[in-house]
């Protein structure tokens, strides 16, 4: 891949010298275009659900030629995204950096004092809302939410509920369940949704609130059973699975999959990326993916998105405050 480049390199050298004189003004003419590769910061490590989704976006952008420069994913998953948030804050005004978010976008700055205020960031686009479903292994006798609650109560606090790290989405949904049904479970944190799925099927945990996208393979193989969905309406892929709300328990929780940019990104750049993601949201690949994986493709951008972020952050602050209160008592 390195061959044949020498002559072009020489040309490039000459060209770059010529261009210094012209300055970097050429891009200002018509509409804004990225001048260098776009860095897509991912708030999670390589290989997880968030990472795979971000790389899917990257592939679609490249395949459909939605950006004039390549989009390069960079994982900054340290500290539940604390590292990524700080990085975005330190690159104020940068027009070539966007960040793929998940709910740790709200929870991490609340849980740890990292000096980041998400209101300062520039919202770009919300691509989808990922859903949560209560799962048990197919070997289990549990068929309904009532069975589940009865089983948890019967276990006397030893019911093993698996999920992602403490303070992350799964643990919040679990805390909401504990509060709603006045039950106590043993929460076992794992590194990611895939790990959780495997441990459920292997019988190392009793139930989980995994995203359908992580559990789908085992569901299709008949190895895990959905009990209830935490969405306002039933999911198309599981038409027979009731929502918690239908059952009289108002638990609705989403994982947002959005893109944000640093504070003070030039307005033209914001417009460019918003348009790029809007086009992306209309592609066939993306629509197919959201249907298969039970994602709600709910596009949102601009001020509405910012308002949504702030509302969600306040909600999370309340849930977290509840959780911490429980812990100390």
């Amino acid at each position: 891949m390195i061959y044949k480049m020498t002559r072009r390199a020489a040309l490039a050298g000459v060209a770059s010298i010529a261009m210094i004189a012209a300055g970097a003004t050429s891009a200002l003419a018509e509409g804004w275009k990225p001048q260098k590769p776009i860095e897509m910061v991912i708030m999670a490590g390589q290989g997880g659900g968030a990472d795979r989704l971000a790389r899917l976006f990257q592939s679609i952008i490249q395949k459909e030629n939605l950006a004039s420069m390549p989009v390069l994913p960079v994982n900054k998953g340290g500290g539940s995204g604390a590292e990524a948030l700080r990085y975005l804050k330190d690159n104020e005004g940068d027009a070539h950096k966007i960040m793929a978010t998940l709910n740790s976008y709200y929870t991490t700055p609340i849980r740890n004092d990292i000096g980041v205020d998400i209101e300062e960031f520039t919202p770009i686009a919300r691509m989808a809302l990922d859903t949560f479903v209560l799962w048990v292994s197919a070997d289990s006798d549990i068929q309904t939410m009532d069975d589940w609650v009865a089983a948890v109560k019967a276990s006397g606090g030893e019911w093993k509920m698996g999920g992602t790290g403490t303070g992350q989405e799964d643990s919040l949904v679990t805390a909401m369940l504990e509060k709603e049904f006045d039950i106590k479970v043993t929460y076992v944190p794992f590194k990611g949704g895939g790990d959780v799925a495997k441990n459920l099927v292997g019988g190392h945990i009793d139930s989980t609130v995994n995203n359908p996208s992580e559990q789908m393979g085992f569901y299709q193989a008949g190895k895990s059973r959905p009990i209830a969905a935490f969405t306002p309406e039933r999911l198309d892929v599981f038409p027979d699975v009731p929502t918690a709300r239908e059952l009289g328990h108002d638990i609705v929780y989403w994982m947002q999959r959005s893109f944000v940019a640093p504070k003070d990104m030039p307005a033209e750049a914001v417009a460019y990326y918003t348009e790029m993601f809007e086009k992306l949201s209309q592609t066939e690949e993306w629509q197919q993916y959201t249907t298969d994986k039970a994602l709600m493709a709910d596009f949102l951008s601009g001020d509405e998105l910012q308002a949504y972020f702030i509302e969600e952050r306040d909600k999370h602050a309340a849930i977290l405050a509840d959780m911490e209160g429980d812990g100390s008592s």
């Binding site: 891949m1 390195i2 480049m5 072009r8 390199a9 040309l11 490039a12 060209a15 770059s16 261009m19 210094i20 970097a24 891009a27 001048q35 260098k36 590769p37 860095e39 420069m69 390549p70 390069l72 043993t186």
Partner: protein, 162 residues
Amino acid sequence: MLVADRVIAIAIMGLSAYFMWHAVELPIGWNGMTGGPGGGAFPFWLSLIMMLCAAGILVRSIGRHDGGQSFFDGVMLKSVILVVVALFATIALIPVVGAYIAIPLFIFWYVKVFGRHSWLLTLCLTIGTPLFLFFFFEVTLKILLPKGITEPLFFPLYAMFF
């Protein structure tokens, strides 16, 4: 030799103490309710073992004699320090003037000034290395290296290769 051994043992003890001081911010005991050790337990108790072993090394060295053998080779120590300083200076320069200036400078210094090689070899390496880095890392692997103030110079190159 013996002096250095003691100094390092003491430094490790200091480091352990520092780790322990930080580890106690999280629970270090066995928590019956959540099951098992707290978040600070692993770093705390391991640091303690480390400290005790380092103390053991220190105690063991007392009363020993080694005939005044020195830890460093006096002649070569100067080179080592020079290389370390050059390395640190290069790393400090990278975010400011970019990898494509800092790294050739380092190569030039190392090959020409430190290694006293010929001008031809020096020039080949000084020019060849950044070219290789650009085509291998940026063009092929799509990993951008820091450019610092030289960033605008790369816009036409990006336009050409991406």
